[in-house]
């Protein structure tokens, strides 16, 4: 692994060297290292690119890393990762994709992640996107996440994309069974002419199921973003989604929230707020000694923290 690749790993997974626990590193379209553990088994798919991850029942306090890095220009790939998580687990999965594109051709990674979360299991899924490079080659990431949650399970999905990705379309679909909870937190910042879209569909099928989708984003320069969410309450359930966006310069953000109650006991809420940084926030920080630009920086950093 070279310096560029090591740097990408550090950016997306906070990894410096080989992680402890199970891992699978994919670099430039090929396996660059793997370890299965007693409870977490990773195998290569035979029908298409990607891996199967099987986590045994009752696996607790274990984590696994599955970073993807691309440092070649012109590489386009679609990778399928399926996670079969047993019952009564408590695990953390750290995914992420970093692309370094110094060439002139497009580099693209489309990760399709499917989760089967077993009864009463708790999963924390962290995914960070990062792009860099001084060429004109585009960096494109289109992640799809499909989540099937069994009764009593809990999943928290944290996704972050702060820098360097030219175009991204994130699609997330979930179905949630009795008393299961899905929390989605996304943070996005776009610059230049970047475009980012997110599309969440959550079916609250189970009695007592719930979801909370929280998106915070900043669109700077000439970048554009679109937030789409659809929460369907098909049973006695609670759904909440929140899109909170700051626009700067010529940034544009659209939000298309939809909530659909198909059961009289479904309680669904959506909140959306899009606007520039409140002038009085900038004034307050300037009164504490910051310049206008420093004040904006601090407000944006805090907002996406």
């Amino acid at each position: 692994m070279d310096k560029i690749q090591e740097n990408l790993l550090a950016e997306i997974a906070d990894l410096h060297g080989i992680p402890t626990g199970a891992y699978n590193i994919r670099a430039n379209g090929e396996g660059a290292g793997r370890r299965s553990t007693e409870h977490i088994e990773i195998t290569t798919k035979t029908d298409k690119p990607g891996i199967d991850i099987r986590i045994a029942d009752n696996t607790v306090r274990e984590s696994m890393h599955i970073p993807v890095i691309i440092s070649e220009t012109g590489l386009t790939e679609a990778v399928y990762n399926d996670f079969f998580i047993g019952k009564n687990c408590d695990v953390t999965i750290i995914a992420g994709c970093g692309i370094h594109n110094c060439g002139t051709q497009k580099s693209e990674h489309d990760g399709i992640h499917t989760f089967f979360v077993g009864e009463n299991s708790k999963v924390r899924y962290v995914e960070k996107h990062y792009g860099e490079g001084d060429g004109n080659g585009e960096i494109v990431l289109n992640p799809q996440t499909i989540v099937h949650m069994d009764a009593g399970s809990y999943m928290e999905m944290d996704t972050v994309q702060i820098k360097g990705v030219d175009s991204t379309i994130r699609t997330t679909k979930a179905d949630v069974a009795d008393n299961a909870t899905l929390i989605i937190k996304e943070k996005i910042m776009t610059h230049g002419k970047q475009h980012a879209e997110t599309d969440f569909t959550v079916d609250l099928n189970g009695e007592g199921s719930s979801t909370n989708v929280i998106s915070r984003s900043v669109a700077r320069d000439d970048s554009t973003q679109l937030f789409v969410s659809n929460i369907r309450g098909n049973n006695k359930c609670a759904g909440h989604s929140e899109c909170d966006a700051i626009i700067m310069d010529n940034g544009k953000v659209g939000a298309l929230p939809k909530v659909e109650a198909n059961c009289v006991d479904a309680s669904l809420i959506h909140e959306a707020a899009i606007g520039k940084i409140a002038g009085e926030q900038i004034i307050k920080l300037m009164g504490l000694g910051l310049t206008e630009a420093e004040a904006e920086e601090m407000i944006v950093n805090g907002f996406l923290k």
């Binding site: 926030q281 307050k284 504490l288 206008e292 805090g302 996406l304």
Partner: protein, 236 residues
């Protein structure tokens, strides 16, 4: 020392020119307690915002320690030693009490963060990592605003109705806080207030109504003008 010379401030209100401040002349000497008081809508907050650089006067000059700061930015005035606690403090999604206190104090906070918060009657342990967002109550927010201003320790500090929303129970402490701040900075403190207890500690009182300075003097000179309901009639 701060001097306001012939300050006027007009805004366009529904196509009409509205005079918010009319030819205001005030000298705020060093090492003193000033209270600015007067009826609602009289122009007190507007005047404070003109001093802090938030509003630009339509005409007139602001001289601070011999220097003309009329065209200076908020930032530069803050760095020169002018500090302003808002009547309605601002909320921030994502920024914590600690973030703001660190910025205000201008250094990495150590034990002092505790002190600033306990001075305003907040337990540092409970508040230091809280976000300054909508979850704070009005009184909590107001106290944090005061703590930030104390942390800055500026030469000239203006508090806009600091007592508003603060329970009576903490009120007397607040006065001690202002006295301590004045001692520490050897500067002047301007408090915009309607409270007699605050007016009582002032060295000088400035009475503002209808955008004009009606009276600038000591308590004995200004208080007679407050004679109950006749107050309004006198200046209408």
């Amino acid at each position: 020392m701060l001097e306001l010379r012939n300050i006027s401030y007009n805004v366009a209100d529904e196509g009409q020119d509205k005079e918010i401040l009319k030819n205001v002349n005030i000298t705020l000497s060093d090492d003193k307690f000033f209270v600015i008081t007067g009826p609602n809508g009289g122009g007190k907050s507007s005047l404070a915002k003109i001093i802090a650089g938030i509003y630009k006067p339509s005409s007139g000059q602001i001289i601070y320690d011999g220097k003309d700061i009329t065209d200076m930015s908020i930032t530069d005035r803050a760095r020169l030693g002018i500090s302003f606690a808002f009547q309605q403090p601002v909320r921030f999604k994502g920024l914590t009490v600690k973030d703001l206190l660190t910025l205000a104090a201008g250094e990495e906070l150590k034990a002092s963060a505790c002190d600033y918060l306990s001075e305003v009657g907040l337990c540092a342990h409970d508040y230091i990592n809280r976000e300054v967002n909508a979850s704070l109550s009005g009184g909590e927010l107001k106290r944090i605003e005061i703590a930030l201003t104390i942390a800055r320790g500026s030469k000239l500090t203006i508090f806009d109705e600091p007592e508003a929303g603060i329970d009576l129970w903490s009120f007397s402490n607040l006065i001690t806080v202002f006295e301590d701040l004045k001692k520490k900075t050897n500067g002047s403190i301007v408090i915009i207030s309607h409270q007699e207890r605050i007016i009582n500690i002032a060295d000088e009182i400035i009475l503002i109504a209808n955008g004009e300075v009606v009276k600038h003097g000591n308590k004995e000179e200004v208080m007679p003008l407050f004679s109950g309901s006749t107050f309004k009639c006198k200046f209408k």
